[in-house]
């Protein structure tokens, strides 16, 4: 490997929780580019909160009156993220519900993610959308209402949308849990292949052993316990 130690995602959580209750403490993890770390644990152990801390969306997962707060650091390719707003972090998110915007067509959902850079015109952005549709095996379905897609199709669009935004790291929050067993088996290798192709660090949260992407890189999280992992 030619990666320098700084490359990839370094997360160091001293304490993650509300004022009265620590959800996760003493967690270290490192994911090199192109690798997929699987984060496992029973529900309520704070898996999704760890993702929210990395993405900077703690405010939206802490429902109710007690906001969750992170003490620690999140570094991506040597850049400290902990104090940046989500939209400047370059961290992509995929949820178990595809969360396709219901008022946009499939293609518009994808176009929404394509960055507007100084050099790119609309035609180029559209071309990237078409290419993404092809990769998702959805050519010709760009004008469809997202609610008419099947569960597997929706999941593929959600992943392509996250990747089109050119994230430098990707977080998958139980991306397969709403699908039936056969569909999961089909979708897993497709998702893993696509994210590895991008050479970015990926964190996958699941409670299903079968979802594990890389047996070498699995971290079990238990409710409010010290956990150590340098993988």
């Amino acid at each position: 490997m030619t990666d320098t130690p700084q490359d990839g995602l370094h997360v160091h959580i001293e304490r993650l929780g509300s004022a009265h209750h620590a959800l996760v403490s003493g967690l270290h993890l490192h994911v090199p580019p192109g690798e997929i770390l699987t984060l496992m644990g029973p529900s309520g152990c704070g898996k999704s909160s760890v993702l929210a801390a990395i993405a900077g969306t703690l405010a939206s997962v802490s429902e109710g009156l007690q906001p969750l707060q992170l003490q620690g650091s999140v570094q991506l390719n040597g850049r400290e993220l902990a104090h940046l707003p989500t939209h400047q972090r370059g961290v992509g998110l995929v949820f178990q519900d595809a969360l396709l915007f219901p008022h946009m067509t499939v293609a518009e959902n994808l176009l929404f993610a394509v960055p507007v850079t100084s050099g790119s015109d609309t035609a180029q952005r559209q071309a990237r959308v078409q290419q993404a549709l092809q990769e998702a095996e959805l050519s010709g379905m760009g004008n469809r209402d997202p609610s008419t897609l099947s569960g597997g199709q929706r999941a593929r669009v959600a992943l392509m949308r996250a990747l089109l935004a050119e994230p430098q790291a990707l977080l998958l929050d139980e991306p397969f849990s709403k699908l039936d067993a056969a569909l999961r088996a089909q979708l897993r290798p497709w998702v893993f292949a696509h994210v590895r192709e991008r050479r970015i660090p990926v964190v996958l949260v699941t409670h299903d052993e079968q979802d594990v992407a890389d047996p070498q890189r699995v971290l079990h999280l238990r409710a409010t316990e010290e956990s150590q992992a340098h993988v």
Partner: protein, 557 residues
């Protein structure tokens, strides 16, 4: 610094409400006025009339609601019935009262249909069938207006996916245990539903006890209800009489608060875990244990609902025919002469219509902007804490509010001015707009904001391209609700406007006391058509996107 915006917003809305209350409070400490009020023999009788009409109409509404829900639920027609409710809700109170008058008055349609054949009348009899001294007309009008409102609130509960499934299952289970459908509804569904309707029921009670415009049209005159009496005193030229009106409004408010506490206790809270955990026997609140006959079908099951719908249609029809009627001697069933005179008169006093539209658009828009800003910026905790305060104008009698708003307008030299009047409307409109928006805002998935940010977009992109487009239906209908509330305002328009502004509502209520049947009907019809137009516009603006039609789906995974 981040909290400066919400702090300002809270002040903008809370200060006028607080100042208005403060102004009334100061005027209530007037011993002389209280003495004068008690010395007046009308006062106690008016209070009795208020209690009778308010409590009787509320109790009737509650029984009717239980009956309609039971028969609709058992026959599984509730969904179909409830789809008609918005049309009934859009009918303003004043228009409903005027429509009933057209039917029930001595020269009204009801008697015309049977005269002289059955009655032998050649002239309208000297009966008190509309402003009857027993308040029956007012009770009928309130009942007709409030049943659809409570049904609509009940519908929002019963159509919630989680509750609907659970209640259907429990209802089915109770029947497998040998209960009849009516028993299953009465013992299983109703006791769970009723406590959830407590606050809306209190709103119905508050409205019944304090309504002015409807009571002026169809309520008893000697004595009138306490709210009307207070209003008459307030609009008197004599200062002492005015202060009597203020304390009468204060007393009405006290009565309202006591009645609300008692009713709230009767309906009871939902059985909590704590109660069950302590081993106490679960006692159902009194008002959830209704007589069996309410749930059993005394009538053919959908009779009650059909009656209500039919009455609404009859009222709309009477307003329409009334507005184009010319000479119409008793006891002829149809007018001798049809004419558009009344509508031409309405058109020639276009200023009234423009004032109505202007006030409605201005107050609804201001309240919508404020509510959206508040819901976007204020922390959840603040929203919960401030909500009761912002809802006060909805709860307290309008006859009390106008006193406070008027003194406020006097202090700021805004009385009788367009700005002052539109602000007064905005105070009354705000709680409705806020209530219409809050459920939609609470239903927004917080992950969507996280997702948009993770795609590299900032807050404004999220709001303009995702959140607000998704909320556009709720936003548009909240605006229409605000507009409808503004159009229906009677007291603030007259009082804060210092009588200088006429709207279709003030015209309709004023004309109801006179003999110009066609003009009164035309204004009442217009009072109904304007909100309906606003709701139609909102429906069009909030229509969901039409996607391209697709060929039958291929079976791809």
């Amino acid at each position: 610094m981040k909290l400066l915006g919400p702090l300002l917003l809270a002040l903008i809305a809370a200060v006028p409400i607080g100042a208005a209350l403060w102004a009334v409070g100061a005027q209530l400490l007037d011993a002389q006025a209280w003495h004068a009020l008690w010395a007046d023999p009308q006062t106690l009788r008016a209070w009795g009339m208020t209690m009778w009409t308010g409590l009787a109409s509320t109790a009737l509404v509650w029984f009717t609601l239980a009956h309609v829900l039971a028969s609709g639920f058992i026959r599984q027609q509730l969904g179909r019935w409830l789809s008609r409710v918005p049309a009934l809700l859009a009918t303003p109170h004043a228009a409903m009262a005027i429509g009933l008058v057209l039917w029930l008055s001595p020269s009204g349609w009801a008697l015309r249909l049977v005269s002289p054949g059955l009655t032998g009348f050649d002239a309208p009899p000297p009966w008190f069938t509309t402003q009857d001294p027993w308040g029956l007309g007012l009770i009928l009008a309130l009942w007709l207006k409030e049943v659809p409102f409570l049904l609509w609130v009940a519908a929002t509960q019963m159509q919630r996916e989680d509750l609907r499934r659970r209640w259907q299952a429990e209802y089915a289970l109770a029947q497998t245990l040998g209960r009849t459908p009516a028993q299953a509804f009465a013992h299983i569904v109703w006791p769970q539903l009723a406590p959830r309707l407590r606050w809306p029921l209190l709103a119905v009670l508050a409205y019944g006890l304090t309504v002015v415009d409807m009571a002026l049209i169809i309520g008893p005159a000697t004595p009138p209800t306490l709210a009307v009496l207070a209003w008459q005193r307030l609009s008197d030229a004599d200062l002492l009489t005015q202060s009597q009106g203020v304390v009468a409004a204060g007393w009405l408010t006290g009565t309202l608060l006591v009645a609300c506490v008692v009713t709230g206790w009767l309906v009871g809270a939902a059985p909590s875990r704590r109660m069950l955990g302590h081993g106490k026997r679960l006692k159902l609140a009194a008002a959830t244990r209704l007589p069996k006959a309410v749930f059993l079908s005394v009538w053919p099951s959908n009779g009650m609902w059909t009656t209500i719908l039919t009455t609404y249609i009859a009222v709309w029809f009477a307003l329409t025919v009334g507005s184009v009627s010319g000479v119409w001697p008793f006891p002829q069933v149809w007018p001798e002469l049809w004419t558009l005179n009344a509508w031409q008169q309405v058109a020639s006093s276009a200023r009234t219509v423009w004032t109505t539209l202007g006030l409605g658009v201005a107050s609804a828009s201001v309240c919508l902007l404020w509510s959206v800003a508040w819901l976007e910026l204020a922390p959840r905790r603040w929203q919960q804490a401030m909500q009761p305060w912002f809802l006060l104008p909805l709860v307290l009698p309008s006859v009390l509010w106008v006193v406070g708003l008027y003194s406020l307008a006097l202090h700021t030299r805004l009385e009788g001015q367009w700005l002052g009047l539109s602000l007064a409307h905005a105070v009354m409109v705000l709680p409705y707009v806020l209530l219409a928006l809050v459920p939609a805002y609470q239903a927004v998935d917080p992950r969507q904001a996280a997702l948009v940010a993770s795609l590299g977009h900032g807050r404004w992109v999220y709001l303009w391209r995702v959140k607000w487009p998704l909320l556009k239906r709720a936003i548009a209908s909240a605006w229409a609700v605000g507009f409808a509330v503004s159009v229906a305002q009677y007291l603030p328009t007259l009082y804060v406007g210092a009588g200088r502004f006429a709207t279709v509502t003030t015209e309709a209520v004023t004309l109801a006391a006179g003999a110009q049947r066609s003009l009164m009907s035309a204004y009442a019809a217009l009072q109904m058509l304007l909100p309906i137009a606003a709701f139609a516009l909102a429906g069009w603006l909030g229509r969901p996107r039409r996607f391209e039609k697709i060929a039958p789906m291929k079976a791809t995974p």
